[in-house]
């Protein structure tokens, strides 16, 4: 038989691996810095290097730069070998690599500058969003083109996970990035309040699922058998694992919003599907671990297997903890606390970090045709990494549960036992230091990895994998035609069963029972027929499907779309009605400017704006939050974390001068606070000539600003600012000024004044003239 030689494109794999190592070190270093900032506030260096601006940099760097580069490298390495084809285009591969690095660099520049959408893990502004989309499309084309050129007919299960990743991340990114640009670096989310919260956490949760989990599972299904030199424990289990995850994961997003103003039905769906995730996740974990059956002895010496075994174990741990935290009563205790931080770092450091390390230690020697420079160093890395993770997780568990219990503790008379929020922060201070030590240990291990890999590469030379394959493959005409697959027996049988089940829900009594029985009989008959055909010569439907990348992709897309659409559409439908009936009114121009300062400084990284329906929560913060409170919020600011207290009903709680002094030096007002000081806001001014365009953009996304309000926005903002500044000058003897000069303490049109206006508005609806105006307009319509 005539054969041909295929040389894999391993150059781009090497590039991605090195980029991942580099950004891994940087991302984790930023992590250590933000951990230090929480334990020791002077580590905040305003204006650029405060916690609020660096925390998004940390999360983006480790997710998209470290894990992103790692998964691109892993996907390209394994897929070329699994399908016996070279990456389709060297140019596309290069664009993919360099484009992605450019996006990372732009994140490194823009996030500390405060250019952010304030949507977690999606903070990058709209021009970068477009760039991400472009590069993702390049990646998809390059990948599917390679699949089209494949010499191996069957798509190995790892490739299914990669396909799901490519499709889902694209959908998530596009939907969550619907935003209206105001300037070159500023946009407002298209979604309002509760909608935005749901879409954001549908995205946020599935970014974890389809960026940090499914591609790494694909990598596990390839590299773990390679390293253990034995096939995966159960290929059948991997199929169930795949479809289970794809269909269930997409629903679970609302578990980030339990006890919030999100409608109950969505919360319940999120919780139930999260619990269901236990099954496929643990199926996958066991499949990974049991692949090592008979190879456990190798674990003693082989650092690669050590990392993989521990990584998969941490996967099991995180996917146990995730559903646990999604139980409403557990969420009531854990949400907004450091327990969540413990959870994500179990996944991030344990699963992603260790799987990356295992893959690098396995692949780099092969990519340079040599042996690992130092096994001892790799083993040492494993141990300090593990100790680092344990210190990190355990300290954050203790911190989180302590916080949660202190927040809800009430005395015998019913009052809060710890009414001062700072008390609950001081209680966990030792845990913040312990976490810092854990993080430092983990980072040191990773630096050791970098050193080890560099010396490994130096001891060899770049080498690209090759394989020999038969030239002629079977002609494409012999494939099962796609309509036969798309309308195959299982699909038709399923549609009938679905129709019958659906009818069962709609009708009562006898009809319902009859439909249920018919559905059952139909289902049993379909199964029986398929079992009868089992040994026939016909290729089974799913088997044929597993060889057809295109149709497989279509079905995966449907799978991931149903959950998202089902949850998001009801919310999109209901919000306009809430806007029509709400007593709330849009922010005044100055408040809107202040809100943009709040967003820029990343205040949401420490302060929530969502009071949950618990007595201890309303005793501390005020009336429970409703959908209407945030109905004009683009983006929503519900937050996910309380390093500081909730701000949903902060308005009117303190005088302007309290806020003024607190922003200048938080510890003067609130001793023990770890909030960074923001004195520079008093001197940096707002260009109010942009305010009308901001109102206009808000109007475009559905906030009912009136045209005359937009026209007079600039004057109104200036007038309100002058009023607040005058009040501060009178009541607190603050020296205010219009122009910068000696002795000036507060500029009238400063960001601080706008921020105070916003903070004083939180949770309050202005009375009554704005309302009257709105009603007049309503009547005029």
């Amino acid at each position: 038989m005539e054969t041909q030689r295929i040389v894999y494109n391993d150059k781009v794999v090497r590039q991605f691996i090195w980029a991942s190592v580099l950004f891994g070190v940087i991302g984790m270093l930023v992590g250590v810095i933000v951990a230090l900032q929480l334990a020791f506030w002077p580590a905040n260096l305003p204006p650029l290097l405060t916690f609020g601006r660096l925390r998004p940099l940390h999360t983006n760097a480790v997710i998209f730069a470290f894990v992103g580069n790692m998964l691109f490298g892993g996907i390209y390495y394994s897929t070329q070998r699994l399908v016996k084809a070279r990456l389709a285009s060297d140019i596309l591969s290069a664009i993919h690599f360099w484009g992605w690095q450019l996006i990372i660099i732009s994140a490194v520049v823009t996030l500390p500058l405060g250019i952010t959408t304030a949507k977690e893990y999606a903070e990058l502004e709209w021009p970068i969003d477009l760039a991400i989309l472009f590069i993702w499309v390049v990646f998809a084309v390059n990948f599917f083109w390679m699949l089209a050129n494949r010499r191996e007919k069957h798509l190995y299960v790892a490739i299914w996970f990669y396909i799901a990743t490519i499709i889902t991340v694209a959908v998530l990114h596009i939907v969550n990035s619907f935003e209206v640009p105001v300037t070159a670096f500023k946009s407002y989310s298209l979604f309002a309040g509760v909608q935005d919260a749901l879409v954001q956490w549908w995205y946020g949760h599935n970014a974890v699922a389809f960026f940090l989990t499914t591609p790494i599972l694909g990598i596990m299904y390839y590299f773990l058998p390679k390293a253990a030199e034995r096939p995966v424990f159960s290929y059948r289990l991997s199929i169930v694992h795949f479809w289970g995850l794809v269909f269930i994961y997409i629903w679970a997003g609302p578990h980030h919003l339990l006890y919030t103003a999100l409608p109950d039905w969505a919360q319940t769906l999120g919780m139930i599907f999260s619990l269901m995730l236990w099954a496929p996740s643990w199926g996958g974990m066991l499949n990974g671990l049991l692949t090592l059956r008979g190879a456990w002895d190798k674990l003693r010496a082989d650092p690669v297997l050590k990392f993989f075994a521990a990584g998969v174990t941490f996967y099991g741990m995180s996917t146990f903890e995730g559903p646990l935290l999604s139980i409403k009563s557990v969420s009531g205790l854990a949400h907004y606390t450091d327990w969540i931080i413990a959870h994500v770092h179990g996944g991030g450091l344990g699963w992603n970090g260790f799987m990356a390390a295992g893959m690098f230690y396995w692949a780099v020697p092969r990519l340079y045709g040599t042996k690992l420079h130092s096994r001892g160093a790799a083993n040492f890395h494993f141990w300090i990494g593990t100790i680092g993770i344990l210190l990190y997780i355990v300290s954050m568990w203790v911190a989180g549960i302590t916080q949660g219990l202190m927040w809800r503790a009430v005395s015998e008379t019913g009052g809060l036992l710890y009414p001062n929020f700072v008390e609950t922060l001081l209680a966990i201070q030792p845990m913040y230091w312990t976490r810092l030590v854990g993080g430092l240990l983990y980072l040191s291990g990773f630096v050791l990895l970098a050193w080890n890999l560099i010396l490994t590469a130096k001891s060899g030379a770049a080498v690209d994998g090759e394989i020999e394959v038969p030239v002629a493959t079977e002609p494409r005409g012999s494939e099962v035609p796609w309509p036969k697959l798309l309308f195959g027996q299982p699909i038709i049988a399923s549609i009938v069963v679905m129709g019958l089940l659906f009818g069962m829900v709609l009708f009562d009594g006898l009809v319902s029972t009859v439909l249920a029985i018919v559905a059952l009989m139909w289902g049993v008959a379909a199964v029986a027929i398929s079992i009868r055909d089992r040994n026939s010569e016909k290729v089974s439907w799913h088997r044929a499907l597993e060889g057809r990348a295109g149709i497989f992709t279509v079905l995966v897309t449907i799978g991931i779309l149903v959950g998202g659409i089902a949850e998001i559409i009801p919310m999109v439908v209901s919000v306009p009605e809430t806007i029509r009936t709400t007593k709330n009114v849009p922010y005044s121009p100055l408040e809107l400017e202040g809100r943009d300062v709040f967003i820029r400084e990343g205040c949401y990284t420490c302060h929530s704006q969502m009071i949950r329906p618990f007595t201890w929560e309303s005793a501390r913060y005020g009336e429970v939050s409703s959908i209407e409170d945030s109905i004009f919020d683009h983006p929503f600011q519900w937050g996910s974390r309380r390093i500081g207290p909730d701000l949903a009903r902060l308005g009117g709680k303190y005088a302007d001068v309290w806020h003024y002094k607190h922003m200048l030096d938080p510890r003067e007002i609130s001793p023990g606070s770890n909030m960074p000081p923001y004195p520079h806001l008093a001197k940096s001014t707002i260009d109010f000539s942009n305010t009308p365009s901001k109102l206009r953009a808000m109007r475009n996304v559905g906030v009912p600003y009136r045209p005359e309000q937009i026209q007079t926005a600039e004057e109104e903002a200036r007038a309100t600012a002058a009023g607040i500044a005058a009040g501060l000058a009178e009541n607190a003897r603050v020296t205010t000024c219009e122009e910068p000069g000696d002795g000036c303490e507060l500029m009238v049109n400063s960001e601080l004044v706008a921020l105070i206006a916003y903070l004083q508005r939180l949770g309050r609806v202005p009375e009554p003239e704005s309302l009257a105006a709105a009603e007049t307009e309503e009547a005029a319509r």
Binding site: R81, L82, H154, Y156, V157, A158, P225, K226, E229, R230, P231, V232, S234, Y235, R236, L237, I239, V240, W243, G244, F247, I248, W265, L269, G369, A461, V463, G465, E466, I467, E468, P490, S494, V497, M498, L501, F502, V505, L506, F507, D508, S512, G523, V527, S530, R534, S540, W541, H542, R543, G559, V562, G563, I565, A566, E567, I569, P570, V573, S574
Partner: protein
């Protein structure tokens, strides 16, 4: 309409979507399980061995 459906849709008619999706998920999952149960051991083994195929020994560039 059944009482269950009436109560559900009273919250919002759009709750039809999650219902359809839930049933769709359930049925697809069933199909997958059937496929897996039917799969021959030899076939599964053959697929599971795909990653283990050896590459050519390539000297340094």
């Amino acid at each position: 309409m059944s009482r269950f459906a009436a109560e559900l849709f009273a919250q919002s008619p759009a709750l039809l979507y999650p219902l359809i999706a839930l049933i769709l998920f359930f049925v697809v999952f069933l199909v997958v399980v059937i496929r897996v149960v039917r799969m021959k051991a030899s076939e599964a083994d053959q697929y599971a061995r795909i990653p283990l195929e050896e590459e050519l020994e390539v000297p340094h560039e």
